[in-house]
């Protein structure tokens, strides 16, 4: 057999193996049914319009630390942090004895189209924080903001520094105009007034934008890679949980979305000290609480260069950054990081009790 015949034979063998893998994947998927997400026990302690504030049930003896309020992004659902029992950032913190609250922004609809950014930060977020403070009869808590929720948390902490004992930001954009930020480059020429004139911005539109950031990997390769799972049920269930989360994107309230894009992406007001909310200036220098800034080195949505500048703009004397070798999502669910990141958060909090 000459070299080209051998190579053809190899290719045919590989193709046959791939076909068999495909059949195995389909067989497993057909019998899988729906996947469960967000399984840690929690109960709603406050609800207002579309938002819900949840408190998680304790899983370990209390670490006697301040309660942690998690402020997630509005553009995705927060169950990413509690995807499944063995991939749950929230569960890991609960196992460390933390008392956790989660702010779920829900699914905004047409009734919310006129709600501005201020209503979310200085309204809903404020009332959730004040609720937790009242419940625990304390003056300050730990605020943990994720992605866009991190930016919202920064704004709130700058407005009400006394209510924030510690601030943790995770994959949070602070400088929205760095050269690596593809989303920001695309956002510069969008007429957001026009985009939001017809109402809320659909979650499907946002998903299309996210997929366009890495179209070949996100719309092709990841599905082709299913073949490598050989019909492994556990792996396929993990894949389906993530798939469910990725495309479960709420519509964005028109006014808040418009302001977020214009003020942050197009005008970079936060880092330029030009942001005001409710007539009050939002100055990062006012933020004096200890800050832990966690970012992911392979983040294609919020590049490290967007998060790193935080330290230079806040007034806190106790600032620590933590670079994690992961992507934007892998930070929470990745093989190594799903345990190491919550452990780092707990250790940082314990050092500041």
């Amino acid at each position: 057999m000459n070299a080209s015949t051998e190579s053809l034979a190899e290719m045919l063998q590989s193709a046959a193996a791939m076909q068999e893998s495909g059949r195995a994947v389909l067989r497993t998927m057909l019998g899988m049914g729906d996947v469960e997400v967000g399984t840690s026990e929690k109960h709603c302690v406050l609800s207002e319009d579309k938002i819900r504030l949840y408190r998680y049930s304790a899983l370990a003896r209390s670490a006697n630390l301040k309660p942690v309020l998690i402020c997630y992004a509005m553009v995705n659902r927060p169950y990413l942090l509690d995807l499944q029992p063995d991939r749950s950032f929230i569960r890991e913190l609960l196992l460390s004895g933390l008392d956790e609250y989660l702010l779920d922004w829900g699914y905004p609809d047409g009734a919310d189209r006129f709600l501005g950014y201020e209503a979310y930060v200085d309204g809903y977020l404020r009332r959730c924080i004040e609720f937790v403070l009242r419940e625990h009869v304390i003056d300050s808590l730990t605020l943990l903001g994720v992605c866009q929720g991190g930016t919202m948390s920064l704004c709130y902490a700058a407005l009400e520094p006394k209510q924030i004992a510690q601030l943790i930001t995770m994959v949070t954009p602070v400088d929205f105009k760095t050269p690596e930020n593809l989303l920001s480059k695309w956002a510069q020429h969008i007429d957001v007034d026009l985009l939001t004139q017809s109402g809320n911005v659909s979650g499907d539109f946002l998903n299309l934008v996210y997929l366009s950031l890495m179209p070949f990997r996100l719309t092709q390769q990841k599905y082709v890679n299913l073949l490598k799972m050989q019909g492994d049920r556990v792996q396929l269930e993990n894949f389906m949980r993530m798939e469910k989360w990725i495309f479960d994107s709420p519509d964005q309230p028109a006014a808040a979305f418009r302001e977020f894009i214009q003020w942050f992406f197009q005008e970079n007001r936060l880092i330029r000290d030009e942001l005001t909310l409710g007539g009050r200036p939002v100055r990062l220098k006012n933020l004096t609480a200890p800050v832990l800034n966690i970012y992911a080195s392979k983040d294609h949505l919020v590049p490290p260069s967007a998060s790193i500048p935080l330290g230079a703009h806040i007034g806190s004397q106790d600032y620590q950054s933590l670079e994690v070798d992961a992507g934007h999502i892998g930070l929470y669910v990745g093989g190594k990081t799903r345990k190491s990141v919550p452990a780092a958060v707990t250790a940082w909090l314990q050092a500041r009790r």
């Binding site: 695309w186 070949f216 390769q221």
Partner: protein, 236 residues
């Protein structure tokens, strides 16, 4: 008239959706010669039904002032037509740009294999190498100002189209005596204003209640103090 108008609008929306689906599916294929025709067909049918057979908006709209009873509809239709054409032009540019990206990616892939001809090339490895090259080339282009502008223009034209379509929907809703978007928006604003007022009133009442109870508490504390002993009066 409203039934015919509604049908034209629904057909128009369907045609636009179909066009968009085609564009998404054929991101690298050549753009069809005319995408405006299927978009215009529903309006031609609508105008035929109104006894305006032979009306060709593609020829008539440019520079022609809208006249008569259907003046406003003509104007909206003209704007929709114009936006459809703009979208078609921009999309053709975008598709061309994407085709160049794919070509460049193939060149990169070829170069990679030319440089390492002995590397193993199973179908899976070939595919992964292709994805790496395509993603790398795409990222380079996607960061360019031209790409960002093209994307933004497509988005802005679509947004403008949606706004015009919304105006038609408003008119149809009025014809059918259905609540229009503008009316619903007004109601939302009123409800929001009322909610804010109620919340402010509740907060102020809670604050004054707290102040009253704290002053009552301090009053009660004073009241609960043991009565002072009467002063002894001394005779001067």
């Amino acid at each position: 008239m409203s039934g015919g108008f509604l049908k034209a609008w629904v057909d128009q929306a369907g045609a636009f959706q179909e066009m968009f689906a085609r564009l998404v599916d054929q991101s690298t294929a050549a753009v069809p010669p005319s995408m405006a025709s299927p978009l215009l067909a529903p309006w031609k049918n609508f105008l035929d039904g109104m006894g305006m057979g032979g009306f060709n908006p593609e020829q008539m709209f440019p520079g022609t002032p809208a006249l008569g009873l259907s003046r406003e509809y003509q104007e909206t239709a003209a704007r929709l037509l114009d936006l459809s054409k703009q979208f078609q032009q921009r999309y053709a540019e975008f598709a061309q740009h994407n085709a160049t990206i794919m070509q460049d990616a193939f060149h990169v892939l070829k170069k990679r294999f030319d440089e390492a001809p002995s590397a193993s090339k199973t179908p899976a490895e070939l595919y992964d190498a292709w994805i790496d090259c395509a993603e790398g080339t795409y990222a380079q282009a996607a960061h360019s100002e031209r790409f960002a502008r093209l994307l933004a223009e497509l988005c802005n034209i679509s947004s403008a189209f949606k706004v015009e379509r919304g105006k038609l929907t408003e008119q149809i809703a009025r014809h059918l005596d259905l609540p229009s978007r503008a009316e619903v928006d007004n109601l939302h604003r009123q409800v929001r204003a009322l909610t804010t007022a109620i919340r402010a009133a509740a907060a102020s009442s809670a604050a004054s209640g707290a102040a009253a109870s704290s002053s009552a508490a301090s009053g009660a504390a004073k009241a609960s103090k043991p009565p002072r002993k009467p002063r002894k009066r001394t005779k001067k």
